[in-house]
């Protein structure tokens, strides 16, 4: 190989403490080096031209630039050599600035080190091979998993951009938690007024296909080209036919079905539409409570349905969709406060969770928007809110802050005052976390204008005394124990990852943290991307989030998808692993360790299986390479030979 070496002075940045001339002349003595020089600013236009000129003039087949960090200018020089007709991977850099000239003043030692680094780069370059990216077509269909506000936003943004969107929601309706909320902070606008139109849009856009009451069965493929199997759960109602008239619900004799939408505060019928504005507005039977489906005689709904939509024989079905990108927006669940024995472990009917209170406040809720307490339907006079229940609490394994509860407590306390002007609200809090725009002002308003009594301290115990609840807490600012007798206690139960988040992550091959929240590629700079190309995150599935952030993330994820879909093809990174089928012993270890599921079995003729890397999925980490017993799988551009060549040069 004919190699050229260019040693950069970088003004005095390098030449100040490194004898670049000597480095270049030493380089000439290395095997295969046919040309070496030093140059003032190699990365400048003239510098790059100098390289291109030398490539032509000396018939160079590989180039080493000894200059700054490759993290800085590798792409620049790669482009430069490419312009001169070399493959961009026939290029290496020696970092003699950040790693040499800037960290020591001993000119002799620096020069020696620079020579070593150039020698290592040359040694590696001898083992370099031209690598070529390939182009793959992009299927411009998007899958959105989860139909909460984040997923809806992402779906609508992409649909508006003209893309086909498939949305999968495991509940019978879309809207997520926000559909259950009464009003929303910090503006106190009605949740269904702002979410409702968006939900309707989802159902009306022609390029959105909605699968409600459905879950992801499996996912295969890779960026630009995923195949998704979707399990449509049996609803026992043919949704093509159902008009949402509600006759069936009216007549259904099974009146004590679980009312999930109202968080257990009311009772539903076995066949129902969870709420009047539900999208899709279709009935479904809760098999657990249906008489007919439990072997008893009924079938009333089938008889009354004007369009014969009820189908007791319905089974789950699987549909397959092809998409090019996936946005995960599966949201969150709420901490189950029965872990708190000292708060009654869920045994006291008048100790409820924040989301239950949200239903109580809601005009479409179980009490028609009148604040009543669940035990006896009385209007409460004293209401206590307790923050950080199942948040910031290491003893229940939830050390993180849920981020939304301080704000929704303030909101609920304000709304309580609006509903019941004679009532008193008390809030036990540890800290108030309200860092959004107009948020702290909102909390201040609760205290200053609405007279909500904030008490700084945690609550030790809640127990009944007579028909009221005693809340025994502390006011740490005063250093005293305090006791409040309350008619109703609202626990701000914390945010936890959505049920089944882990299993879904494994299907998607994305990672999640110890609490089940999905991990972004980079917490600051790639907040909606995952480490699996083509899979993006939006909303509370990534961590606790309020509506504004969830929506912002929905749009951010949508824009990532749009920039991906702006291309008809994508270029692959050729620095991927490659299997030598002759030496592969088919042990499968690489398949086990690959964090991205990039390796699969390939069946050769005669039924022999060999490992095969999917270049589009491989991210180039090299874990497989280090694992493979016969070293049959090699990471291109960082092969064993290349790495050892560098070390070898040093040992010499």
């Amino acid at each position: 190989m004919r190699i050229g070496v260019f040693v950069c002075n970088c003004g005095t940045n390098i030449a100040g403490t490194v004898d670049t001339k000597r480095v270049a002349s030493e380089a000439l003595s290395f095997a295969d080096v046919v040309y070496a020089t030093n140059y003032m600013y190699t990365c400048s236009e003239p510098g790059q031209q100098e390289i291109q000129r030398a490539i032509g003039e000396h018939g160079l087949q590989g180039v080493v630039v000894a200059a700054c960090s490759p993290r800085m200018h590798e792409p620049t020089f790669r482009r430069a050599v490419e312009k001169a007709g070399l493959n961009r991977y026939m290029f290496e850099m020696a970092n003699i600035r950040e790693h040499v000239s800037w960290i020591g003043n001993d000119r002799e030692a620096n020069t020696q080190k620079a020579i070593d680094l150039v020698r290592m780069a040359v040694a590696k370059l001898r083992f370099n091979n031209p690598l070529f990216s390939s182009k793959m077509p992009v299927n411009k269909r998007l899958l959105v998993i989860g139909g909460g506000v984040a997923g809806i936003q992402a779906a609508l943004d992409c649909a508006d951009g003209g893309m086909d969107v498939v949305m999968v929601e495991r509940k019978q309706y879309i809207g997520g938690k926000m559909a259950k909320l009464d009003k929303t902070f910090p503006t106190i606008d009605c949740s269904s007024c702002i979410l409702g139109p968006k939900m309707v849009d989802v159902s009306q856009k022609e390029n959105i296909t909605l699968y409600a009451a459905s879950e992801i069965e499996s996912i295969s493929g890779y960026i630009g080209n995923f195949t998704v199997q979707i399990r449509k759960k049996a609803t026992y109602v043919n949704w093509e036919a159902c008009t949402g008239c509600g006759l069936c619900t009216e007549k259904c004799p099974s009146k004590k079905a679980a009312d999930y939408f109202n968080e257990g505060l009311g009772a539903a019928r076995a066949i129902n539409i969870p709420f009047p504005q539900a999208i899709p507005k279709k009935a479904a039977i809760d098999a657990q409570f249906c008489r007919q489906l439990n072997g008893k005689k009924c079938g009333v709904c089938a008889k009354v349905c004007p369009v014969q939509a009820v189908d007791f024989e319905m089974k789950d079905s699987i549909v397959t969709e092809q998409v090019g990108a996936i946005i995960v927006a599966t949201g969150y669940d709420l901490f189950d406060h029965s872990a708190y024995g000292e708060y009654g472990a869920g045994r006291y009917p008048d100790v409820i969770s924040g989301i239950q209170y949200e239903r109580i406040l809601s005009a479409s809720g179980p009490y028609g928007g009148h604040i009543r307490r669940p035990s006896d339907g009385k209007e409460p006079k004293d209401i206590v809110f307790i923050s950080c229940v199942g948040s910031r609490d290491a003893s229940v394994g939830r050390p993180y802050c849920s981020g939304i509860c301080c704000m929704y407590i303030a909101k609920q306390a304000i709304l309580t005052r609006d509903h019941l002007p004679e009532s008193n609200s008390y809030v036990f809090y540890m800290d108030i976390r309200s860092p959004g725009k107009n948020y702290d002002e909102f909390v201040r308003r609760a205290q200053e204008e609405y007279g909500v009594q904030y008490i700084r301290g945690r609550v030790g115990k809640i127990y009944p005394r007579g028909d009221r609840m005693v809340v025994q807490g502390a006011d740490t600012l005063l250093g005293v124990q305090v006791e409040v007798e309350a008619d109703l206690v609202v626990l701000a139960t914390g945010v936890e990852s959505s049920a089944g988040a882990g299993e879904l992550a494994e299907k998607l091959r994305i990672s999640y943290d110890q609490y089940g929240f999905y991990m972004e590629s980079h917490p600051k700079l790639r907040p909606v991307e995952t480490n699996t190309a083509g899979v993006y995150l939006a909303g509370a599935c990534q961590g606790p989030k309020d509506i504004p952030s969830s929506v912002a993330q929905g749009s951010a994820a949508a824009s990532k998808v749009q920039s991906l879909f702006a291309h008809d093809t994508i270029e692959t990174n050729p620095q991927v692993a490659l299997v030598n089928e002759r030496t592969c012993i088919s042990c499968g270890k690489c398949i086990q360790v690959c964090p991205f599921g990039a390796i699969q079995w390939k069946e050769l003729r005669g039924g022999i299986k060999k490992a095969e890397v999917l270049p589009t999925v491989c991210q180039g980490c090299g874990v497989c390479n280090a694992t493979c017993p016969p070293k049959a799988i090699q990471l291109q551009h960082a092969t064993d030979n290349q790495i050892l060549a560098e070390v070898n040069e040093l040992c010499a």
Partner: protein, 166 residues
């Protein structure tokens, strides 16, 4: 730093004389530690010059044999540095690395190699200062230990590691 090894009590001048050609190789992951070393440079944090850095994509790429061979064939110290746990660009590469490097540590004495010659650390791209500290401490340690008596021939043709690992 304190060190109880007999070598550390060697007279200073002898140490200096012996350590002229100390060679340390560092395997740094591209995303965190290589960036950290760059940051240290950009901040002009002065460091000993014995270290030569090999850039690898991820510490998960580290084959323990890279370390073993380096030490057998005459490197005086080997430093492996990657992203902090949970910060791995490739999600879990550094967990694999940690497991392998821990195993390697147990294994080195059987090859007659002082485990102090090998170190595995985590440095992120922003931790220039931390990198300076790691390099300085490790270089000092290797200087105290002096040249690696090694197990293989130290110089000449034979010292070349055969390319490929078998």
């Amino acid at each position: 730093m304190t060190d109880s090894s007999p070598r550390s009590s060697a007279p200073a001048d002898q140490t200096a004389a012996n350590t002229q050609g100390i060679k340390i190789v560092g395997f740094l992951c591209n995303w965190c530690s290589y960036g950290g070393a760059d940051t240290a440079g950009v901040c002009r944090f002065k460091q000993p010059t014995d270290l030569r850095i090999v850039r690898i994509p991820c510490t998960g790429r580290m084959d323990p044999l890279f370390v073993a061979k380096s030490l057998i064939y005459g490197m005086d110290g080997v430093l492996v540095s990657g992203c902090h746990p949970r910060d791995c660009h490739y999600a879990v590469g550094n967990f694999y690395a940690r497991r392998r490097m821990e195993a390697l540590k147990l294994f080195l004495p059987f090859m007659g190699i002082d485990t102090r010659r090998f170190r595995y650390t985590w440095v992120s791209a922003s931790e220039g200062q931390q990198w300076q500290k790691v390099v300085t401490e490790f270089s000092e340690e290797i200087h105290r230990l002096g040249p690696n008596p090694g197990v293989g021939p130290r110089s000449g043709e034979n010292s070349k590691i055969s390319n490929g690992l078998r």
